[in-house]
């Protein structure tokens, strides 16, 4: 049995094509079941079908049917170790657009759970899921934020620790500002005020976050009540000067200025207890964390290589497992036949004979079994299995 993979991803296909073959979980599971023993992993960046079969052409045809066009020129195909390593790298987040992103592991698990594959794929996917968890536990690949909004929230945590109960003053209704506010809110911060040139936009955003809409003119008077000020307006001049900031006696005040031109006077960053990050600072932080992720990715690749070796050894043993099973069945049959010839025996004598003959059998077969597995690990399992079948007349059992 071979592991085969066919798929497309952000590495080889544009979004126009990827979105055509992107399948919701239930449809992906249906497609996998239609192919027999298979798992279909479909996310916004990839759609891949893993099959326990030598031939992946049926899987490719299914994907082409979904896409409504031929995929042969863009789809990648892999087999056995290469396919397994690819799956390991996917679940470790190493094949993702942002190395180490955490969502992919959940998506691999969901695809596996939905497909409920047979023993072969089950083993491979469980190994991939374990590896994904291990990579995240043993490396820092997923710890740092990979986007400006996430970096803004992580920096706020670097100042305040837990953001539960921290009050955010959101100025402007720009997309990145909204995303950053969402990121802060997701970590427990309260979006207390939303200020914008347009009152309607401020109200709409405030209602979404459960805050209060205010005018831009009210901003200086609300600074004393805020812990984090997140600004992303399109204003041509600064909105907050050093003179607007009340003296901080006990608690820090963190400014995130995503606007260009900047909304917050850089002099604010020099005030005692005030910390100011503009868009360039945030992008530098993101670039640095991505560099860190790449360094961690090297450690993760080493873990993948170890798992690939384990997979290779396990896969190789599959070549000799049928021969071992045939040999043991053949020996067991002889033992049972010879015991039957003894006729009626007292129960205790029969039990003794059963035990002794079983022991002899196990001892005789132990070394050949070990040697066959060793040969399998050394890539000569199939030849050795053929020799064993030939020596013991097991050719008819060949599977």
């Amino acid at each position: 049995m071979r592991l085969s993979l066919v798929g497309i991803s952000h590495h080889v296909a544009p979004v126009e094509l990827r979105e055509r073959v992107a399948l919701p979980l239930d449809r992906a599971a249906t497609l996998a079941r239609s192919l027999g023993d298979a798992v279909c992993l479909s996310t916004c960046n990839r759609t891949e079908v893993y099959v326990a079969d030598d031939d992946e052409s049926a899987a490719l045809s299914s994907l082409e049917e979904v896409a409504g066009e031929p995929l042969r020129s863009v789809a990648y195909r892999m087999h056995d170790e290469a396919a397994a390593v690819h799956l390991f790298r996917v679940s470790a987040g190493l094949d993702s657009l942002v190395p180490g992103e955490s969502e992919i592991l959940g998506q691999v698990r969901a695809a596996y759970d939905a497909a409920r594959p047979g023993p072969f794929l089950d083993r491979v996917f469980r190994q991939a899921l374990e590896l994904g968890k291990r990579v995240r536990a043993e490396t820092a690949i997923g710890e740092s934020p990979a986007s400006v909004p996430a970096a803004a929230a992580a920096l706020a945590q670097q100042v305040f620790g837990e953001l539960e109960g921290r009050r955010v003053l959101l100025i402007g209704a720009g997309r990145i500002g909204e995303l950053a506010a969402g990121s802060l809110s997701a970590r427990g911060a309260t979006i207390a005020y939303v200020a914008n040139r347009s009152a309607d936009a401020a109200r709409e955003l405030a209602s979404r976050f459960g805050g209060e809409a205010i005018t831009l003119e009210e901003v200086p008077s609300r600074l004393a009540e805020a812990d984090v000020v997140l600004s992303s307006t399109g204003a041509p001049a600064t909105l907050i000067g050093a003179a607007d900031v009340p003296a901080r006696r006990k608690q820090p005040l963190f400014f995130i200025d995503i606007a260009v031109p900047r909304d917050v006077d850089p002099a604010v960053g020099d005030l005692d207890g005030c910390y100011l990050y503009d868009i360039d600072d945030l992008e530098a932080v993101v670039a640095e964390t991505l560099a860190g992720r790449r360094a961690e990715a090297e450690r993760a690749e080493r873990l993948v290589a170890l798992e690939a070796q384990r997979f290779k050894e396990w896969r190789a043993t599959l070549d000799v497992v049928p021969a071992i099973a045939s040999l043991r069945a053949w020996a067991e049959e002889i033992r049972a036949t010879e015991l039957a010839k003894l006729g009626d025996l007292p129960d205790d004598e029969r039990r003794t004979l059963e035990a002794v003959t079983s022991q002899i059998l196990n001892k005789l077969l132990h070394l050949p079994t070990v040697r066959m597995k060793e040969a399998a690990a050394a890539n000569s399992g199939e030849q050795v299995a053929d020799v064993v079948r030939h020596l013991f007349g097991l050719e008819h059992d060949r599977r």
Binding site: Q158, G161, Q251, D272, G273, E288
Partner: protein, 252 residues
Amino acid sequence: MPELLFWPALVAYGEAAVAYSSARFSALGTWGVRVGWLAQTALLAFQAGRAEGFPWSSWAGSLNLFVWLVVSTYLIWGCRPRFRLLGLSVMPLVVALFVAARLGGGTETGDRPHYGNLFLVVHVGCVLAAFAGFTLAAGLAGLYLLEERRLKRRAADILRLRLPSLVALERLTKRTIAVSLPLLTLGLVAGFVRLREHGGGVDALMAATLAAWAVYAIFLGVRPAGRNGAHLAIVGFVLVIVVRVALAGTHF
């Protein structure tokens, strides 16, 4: 036997001091602290078992106990990855003081105390425990200043080399001092009660200790925020070091 326990403890502390300098090996550093602490605990237990009374009444002996108290206090937070740099600041000091304790004979057995055991336990024990707390508080304040500086300078690697948050460092510094100051007060009261009963004057070490007490009392009374608080905690620690090292000969 003290030899067999001192050297493993010193080697383990030394290993921790070196390992903490690398993020990759910081877990080994924490294990070094744990192993060293266990070995030193065994050393102290052995000394206590052999001594006829409180075995750490000499300057070097009290330094040995002080080192153990610092490491014990550090272990409360030091096992967390983000406090790695705290270990980097504390463990070299621990190694240096432990060696000094050794050179002064504080890791040997046979000290015969000149004072009653109860007095020594309360006076020496409380003062040293408080000093250990102040040492940790100074380490935390140092981390605060470092992190604050990185935030002010908008260091690009601030999320790669993560320290505890400013608020957490400030809170821990205050809590550590809030626990340590009553211990110092108790130790000082015990010392002054004895001084009053047996006579004697205030020496330079006592005066410096009182000054340290005053600094930490101001810290808790005024509760300065941010950098001011961190600076005050470090000023108090400088006095602690003066008491522990520079003025040792005037009191013991």
